[in-house]
Amino acid sequence: MLTLRPEEDEKLRKLLTELNRESKSKIVLLIDKSGQLISRSESPAFSSDDITFASLTAGNVAASEALSKLLGDKNLNHMFTETEEEGIYMILIDGKYILVSIFNKSVSNLGIVRVKIKKYYKKLVDLLRQIESRIEEESSIAEQLNVEDIDLDTLFE
């Protein structure tokens, strides 16, 4: 199970926000390979549904990884998709996470984005590994959860 403590959440968000600013991206997202959005830069202008975006990105990366395996290539490292106005750059982190930068092509470019990701890559990996080892040491989180009184009936109209 992946958990984030408030201070870790803040560190991650800060790191992604810095990366977003320096790379002149619209938004930078950190996603896990099963499609969960873990964190994102503070980018109030980004209006798309980030949860759905995360799920599609993970599907996209999973399919491309399977393709490259099929072709006999060992690992997929990164991929790039573009629309008329935007670039979407995705890079695998530690084989488990996906870092995504969405940028406006008239504001930034793939070169800048890659250089800036390179700059922050180690910091990000270190932070993620710290979080992982904290999770490993932790025993149960059950008592901190309060899910019993969730009422699913209120969901439907």
Binding site: L2, L4, D32, S34, Q36, I38, I51, S55, D149
Partner: protein, 193 residues
């Protein structure tokens, strides 16, 4: 794998609807999506062929807030049931927290039910997921059709783990909510362990 953020107080879980081609997986989550309050849902994604067969997956994010504690987000996925999409099915199971197996009750589709269940067991094994530990619900769908097998037969052949199971007519929404509630209940219960 659930993802819990203690800063934003969010819990994220992944639920996969698995089953043979045309058994009604997409119909299930579409019905849920159509009947949920707008403030509790995100955007639905459907990656389908022109004939509405699922090509890669469908995706529906659902949010439930409770007063005191956390916001729970269920990510519902369907797999593509057609045999040729075996590789895609495996990708979608990655990180799964609960499975709804949607079986087609029609007699002539029973072999497809059995093959798909085997396929699911193989895929779970490859991810090192123990089915005995996995939240799991069976749904016997298309109970409105004439040539269907008795529930006892479906239960005996498919539900070998004695998990909760439901009869359904997904096109009319019968059994859809019951199935969904049961799988979410199991997933949340497992979180507490």
């Amino acid at each position: 794998m659930p993802f819990i953020n203690f800063a934003t107080k969010e819990i994220n879980c992944k639920i996969v609807y698995y089953g043979p081609g045309l058994s009604g997986k997409t119909t299930n989550i579409k019905w849920i999506y159509d009947h949920i309050k707008p403030e509790n849902k995100g955007e639905m994604i459907t990656l389908a062929t022109e004939t509405e067969r699922t090509l890669f997956f469908d995706f529906v994010p659902i949010e439930v807030s409770n007063v005191k504690g956390f916001k729970v987000r269920f990510h519902l996925y369907t797999t593509p049931g057609q045999i040729i999409y075996q590789a895609s099915r495996k990708l979608i199971l990655k990180g799964v927290d609960g499975v709804v197996f949607v079986a087609d009750s029609q007699e002539e589709r029973h072999d497809a039910n059995l093959d798909t269940l085997d396929d699911m067991l193989d895929n779970l094994k490859e991810y090192d997921i123990d089915i005995n530990e996995l939240p799991l619900v069976f749904q016997y769908n298309k109970r409105d059709l004439p040539n269907i097998l008795p529930v006892e037969v479906l239960r005996r052949d498919l539900n070998r783990w004695n998990r909760p199971d439901f009869e359904a007519v997904a096109t009319k929404g019968i059994g859809v909510l019951e199935t969904f509630k049961e799988i979410t209940r199991q997933v949340l219960k497992k979180l507490k362990k």
